[in-house]
Amino acid sequence: MKNDISLTKLSFINIKKHSFRSLGLITMTAILSLFLFGGSVLLLSLDKGLESMSTRLGADIMVVPIGYDKEAEGVLLRGEPSYFYFDKSVETKLAKVDGVDKVTSQFFLTSSNQDCCSVPVQFIGFDPNTDFVVQPWIRENYSGRITENSIIIGNDILYDESGIMKFFDKEYEVAAVLDETGTGFDTDVYADIVTVKSLFEAAKEKGFGFTDDIDFENSISSVLIKISDGYDIDTVVHNIRMNIDGVQIIKGQTMTAEIADNLNGFRIFLLVLLLLTGIFSIVVLILTFSLSVNERRREFGILRSIGSTRGMVVSVVIKEAVIIGISGGIIGIVFSSLILFPFNTYIGDSVKLPYLLPNSWVIIVVIILTLILSAVIPPIIASCFAVKISRSEIYLTMRDND
């Protein structure tokens, strides 16, 4: 039986022959690619979550009852249901403040959803006539108008195929589902204020009292403001403070800025971790390749003595390193994916920051880049040593291991 041999086959044979060392090198490369891929996807997911949150907020300023800014942030960012109220007249007053272009009010209510595992749900009632923050997102999934007793639900709300949800024994038709944002918006249920108010009545009938002394008809939970062109937010905030007491003012950019700060902290932590892992892996790769290439001086000498050029000898080493790099790269990506994608929801909940996986194309690009780096770093390291040996006098190289 004829068996063919080539320098490429020699690379494979060398890897197999030194299986323990090859395994060590593959493991190091796998660790590097695991952190590289995993870290990149984590950061991209956090960035995407922040971006989607900024886009979804819609308003420049949010005004809530005094002392309820933390609850408001909890509703928006972490889907922590809450309810608070102040007088509806605040909306009218705010509309008259210098620098305010548009105002719209919202009414918050929470409920336990009977369809699923007792997770509280946030209802947000809005006025379809003045609203500018909710409807732009609803239109992405629903083409008609919201009618009485119809609701729009966030991505994480469960509903069955009948398209009907039940709250406090009253049925509501699911008109649309919103895109995922990776923030508290995903657990909200939107409806016009008339529908939400009917829910409030149904809740009272079932014995759920929120605060008994609310003047329901004249109460709202928040006012969202769009400022006029040419005005800056701080000026408008100042104007509001000068004209209206008893309210808490939240700047949209402050909320996203705080999250961006937390995200930066996390980003720095990840980058430092990545850097340390990278340095450690590369140092181990350097030491191992250095030992490995030096150990094989006689082998390289024999190859040169039978007519291999310097390039051929270096290519044997480079091919081995590429095979090792790609193998380690694939293993690292697979292990990283086994954690990142199946446990995606848990990771998002744990970091307590807006978290949204990037789309498939972005992930594919990250995979390709990680594989390229894995395939390139080991050969670069190995070739440094191989080139040095290939430049030595062949006769002296052959005698070196004696």
Binding site: V119, T345, Y346
Partner: protein
Amino acid sequence: MSSTVIGKNKTKIRKYFLGAAFLLIGLLIAIGPQTIFAVCPKDPDSMAMACYYTARISVGIGTVIAALGLIQLVIRNNGFGSGISTAELLLGILILLVPTILVGVCKGEHMHCHSVTLPALIILGVLLIVLSVTDIVIGFVGRNKRNTHEK
């Protein structure tokens, strides 16, 4: 060293590696849903949820998987290998079906059983299937090679 001796050593290494892997996976499946990737806690005043039963069934299936792994490690006769791998393959498929189709977990995506227990069991099930299929295929190929050689 002759190729026969090398072959026998490789079979032994494969046997111990698989036995240890099956044992570890089995223990994780049995204990995991109660501990490190626990299902939702059971409310004493209300009915048990689907995830509670998934965890209980996993104890049984995981124990059998671990026991087969232990048998693989302890028993000397190499002939049991593909039989045990076939059994582990079927158990791997079963552990995939329990939290997804047969019993299920809570529907809420953010519930702990859905975000942690479910993916953990799926990963362990897939790992079990991959290992057992690999072992069956290697065994099959090896037997074919030996038969050709003997002819």
